[in-house]
């Protein structure tokens, strides 16, 4: 059995209760500890942790990041979780469970900066870093042992402490032979965890519910349950033919994943597939003008995010959630790739207009899909000589905002809505 002290990164001869070198108690042990090289890194309660690092006086208080009484919990710290608060829970429910929680409006700029700092610490570990979201990444440390003069497990342990020391937040690490198992491992020992999955993974996962597997949502769970399959072990035991018969063309793939198999490489090129922005209202809305007033700042935000990520959108998705919490989306095809808020708005507005009538809405969102390189954005075409002028205007707006702040200049239509309640 191979073992490592997570407080001093030394390899131990055998698993022990405490480290003979530094006396630390955080010992991780596994048969293949020093051989495995795919790591999934997930920041613990990311938004809440960043807020706590920024305001140390909140360290021992329950913290919820989210907005307004109508919003939802974007993130909550582990103290708040003790009271039963969870992410995506409606705010009123969270506050009922944890009335003394400190509620903080999300400050995305601050989180983005912390995320960049975490990624900067990953860069020296391996070139194969693939960010999955603002607070998650997967790293392939294969072949880096000679470079670091240490096995990946020790490098990751050192990295976790560097994040705590330099950024003030904690992370959980999953180490495994592939991306799927690394992700499942990272989830198993949160927060401040370090979990290792090796050859034994399938046996450990067998009694777990099928919903644990990324990609098996509630609908697939129901389908599988109807066929008597509720545990990963049952799914793993299916032959390809049985799997295809029971779950359709994706069946064999699902069964392989249930066995812990995954051949996806870690791809450091950006894999962003969609970028979006959405907002929950203080009170339900059914009026087009009011909904438009909320849609516009979201289009601006989406345009900003596209620019920041270096993308242009060839498709848009309008998302609406009705007052009875059922949500639906409408896909919009664009003729030319864009990152301009004006064009995003003018494509989404008629689609929104068609949905007005029967129901009132509690949330609106706009997302970009079919992303292409920003080089192809907003070039205008034979029937459109307007767009290059819009680009010039947007550039001027951005310059003014960069110098004098976001409130320096805006469109008239942006003046109508109340402050956004959540992100």
């Amino acid at each position: 059995m191979q073992a490592l002290c997570r407080d001093c990164d030394r390899a131990l001869a055998a698993p022990a209760g405490s480290c003979p070198h530094c006396g630390g108690h955080r010992i991780v042990a596994h048969e293949q500890l020093f051989e495995l090289a795919i790591a999934h890194v997930d920041c613990d309660a990311f938004y809440a942790s960043v807020e706590k690092a920024y305001r140390p006086e909140l360290r021992d208080r329950p913290v919820i990041v989210g907005g307004g009484t109508r919003g939802v919990v974007a993130a909550c710290c582990y103290i708040a979780r003790l009271s039963g608060v969870r992410s995506a829970m409606p705010m009123f429910k969270a506050l009922k469970l944890c009335p003394d929680a400190v509620v903080i409006r999300p400050d995305m700029a601050r989180y983005a900066e912390a995320a960049r700092a975490v990624r900067a610490l990953m860069a020296p570990l391996t070139p194969l870093v693939q960010p999955l979201s603002i607070d998650e990444a997967v790293l392939d440390l294969s072949g880096t042992q000679a470079l670091h003069n240490a096995p990946p497990a020790a490098v990751l342990s050192r990295f976790a402490r560097a994040v705590e020391r330099d950024i003030g937040i904690t992370i959980s690490v999953g180490l495994a032979p592939n991306r799927l198992l690394a992700k499942l491992a990272a989830e198993r020992d949160k927060p401040r965890g370090f979990y290792v999955f090796g050859a034994e993974a399938a046996a450990i996962l067998a009694p777990e519910p099928v919903g644990l597997l990324p990609g098996i949502g509630p609908a697939m769970q129901r389908t599988l349950a109807a066929r008597g399959i509720t545990r990963l072990g049952q799914l793993a035991g299916l032959s390809s033919r049985e799997a295809m018969r029971l779950c359709g063309p994706d069946g064999p793939h699902l069964a392989a994943r249930a066995r812990g198999e995954d051949s996806r490489p870690v791809d450091p090129r950006r894999i962003t597939k969609s970028i979006s922005a959405e907002m929950t209202f203080e009170t339900d809305l059914r009026d087009l003008a009011k909904l438009e007033a909320y849609l516009w700042p979201l289009c601006e935000k989406l345009g900003r995010r596209l620019r920041a990520e270096g993308f242009a959108a060839l498709g848009l998705t309008l998302k609406l959630k009705t007052s009875d919490f059922s949500s639906f989306t409408r896909a919009i095809k664009l003729a030319n790739p864009t990152m301009l808020p004006d064009l995003i708005f003018s494509a989404a507005q008629p689609v929104l207009k068609r949905e007005i009538g029967a129901s009132s809405f509690r949330l609106i969102g706009i997302g970009a899909s079919h992303l292409v390189s920003e080089r192809l954005a907003d070039q205008g075409d034979l029937a459109d000589t307007q767009t290059p002028r819009l680009v010039a205007r947007q550039t001027a707006i951005d310059d003014l905002r960069a110098r004098f702040g976001p409130g320096a200049i805006g469109k008239g239509r942006a003046l109508r809505p109340a402050k956004p309640s959540a992100v």
Binding site: A347, P350, L382, A383
Partner: protein, 374 residues
């Protein structure tokens, strides 16, 4: 209503109106065809509320009247009759079914009264002129490929038909663009068309009109207002709403300063484009043209499948300007070259500016292509 008509005549007219019938069937009566006998003539009509088609058919009539029956069913019944059958249609009026007899065959079709059928009134049409079917076919064929299907810019979803002036001469012009390519074709302005409003004829109307023009050699009468257009083609009358929008000022995007002229045999060129682009698995199939003195090299690359190139030398190509490299979507090149005769002329400015394309022998039609990065 009572009449007799021969199967072939009836079937041909029904086939025409059949195309116009509303396919999605949101309003039930729009699936019906209107049969009317008045003053010894039978007329057959259908509409989808955007387009209406009325065709007058030779028949021996014995009682006036009008009724509607499901278009698809009637067409199917008539089609299944023996070739030279004489078909009798008889409707006594009121809620009675339509009786159809042919030889020993008889059927009674449930009919709906004409009250619910939309009125096919075109309103007042301010301008009226004649154009030969051949010329109208040319205006359509050389532009329709460029019509946009994009919903947001609905005003591009048709052919912009308008009166203009070309080198001092009045012309009737058809323009279509989807933003990536533009086609502009013109004919001498027919008498009566002067001062007509510019109109955008919707894509579906263009398609139906083109089908009706297929066997026609005579003139077509066009009458229009700002909201409606009506084509009278021998015994058929096609009326359509127009797209309510403003067509962009296309003159601004037709390049005037382009000076690098490439002439190439149309067939050599389009065959080479097809061969070279076959390698590409991308949807847009970009093809690069590298042009030098009397030399054109077409090439395409695919990250997965490799590369392809083909040279056309001075036997096929004439070019005397500075060398240039420029890329286009294969389909756009082929759509345009299908519209020109033996020799195609490309007029470039540089590798990133819109390129003018025309038939070397016929300057009345011009095409503009946006290049793509390759």
């Amino acid at each position: 209503m009572k009449l007799k008509a021969d199967r072939a005549t009836l079937m041909k007219a029904l086939a025409h109106v059949q195309n116009v019938v509303e396919k999605r069937n949101t309003i039930p009566i729009l699936a019906n065809v209107l049969l009317a006998v008045k003053e010894g003539r039978l007329s057959i009509a259908a509409t989808d509320l955007e387009i209406a088609l009325i065709e007058t058919v030779a028949a021996s009539t014995s009682r006036d009247g009008a009724i509607t029956v499901p278009a698809a069913t009637l067409y199917e019944i008539v089609r299944r009759q023996p070739e030279h059958a004489e078909i009798e249609l008889d409707h006594p009026g009121g809620d009675a079914p339509l009786a159809l007899r042919a030889g020993r065959y008889a059927t009674k079709l449930v009919a709906i009264s004409t009250d619910e059928f939309p009125k096919l009134d075109a309103g007042k049409l301010s301008h009226k002129f004649n154009i030969s079917a051949h010329a109208l076919r040319g205006l359509i064929d050389k532009t329709r490929f460029a019509i946009s299907t994009e919903e947001t810019r609905y005003y591009l979803n048709g052919i912009y038909l308008h009166a203009a002036e070309h080198e001092g001469q009045p012309v009737l012009r058809a323009v279509a663009t989807d933003g990536h390519r533009l086609a502009r074709v013109q004919e001498t302005l027919p008498e009566g068309a002067a001062g007509m409003p510019g109109v955008i004829v919707p894509r579906k109307t263009v398609g139906e009109l083109r089908k009706l023009l297929e066997e026609i050699t005579d003139d077509v009468e066009i009458a229009l207002s700002e909201t409606r257009i009506q084509f009278t083609i021998s015994t058929m009358k096609l009326t359509s709403k127009l797209i309510d929008g403003t067509f962009p000022d296309y003159n601004r995007v037709i390049p005037v300063g382009n000076d690098k002229i490439l002439r190439v045999g149309t067939k050599d060129f389009s065959d080479a484009v097809a061969r070279v682009s076959a390698i590409s698995s991308e949807r847009h199939k970009p093809v690069k043209l590298s042009v030098g003195r009397d030399l054109l090299v077409l090439s395409a690359t695919s990250p997965e499948q490799g590369t392809a190139s083909e040279e056309l030398d001075s036997d096929h190509v004439a070019y005397e300007s500075t060398p240039i490299e420029i890329g286009f979507q294969a389909r756009y090149l082929n759509d345009v070259t299908e519209q020109v005769g033996n020799e195609v002329e490309f007029v470039f400015a540089d590798g990133s500016a819109p390129t003018l394309v025309r038939d070397a022998a016929d300057p009345s039609a011009i095409f503009v292509l946006m290049p793509m990065r390759v």
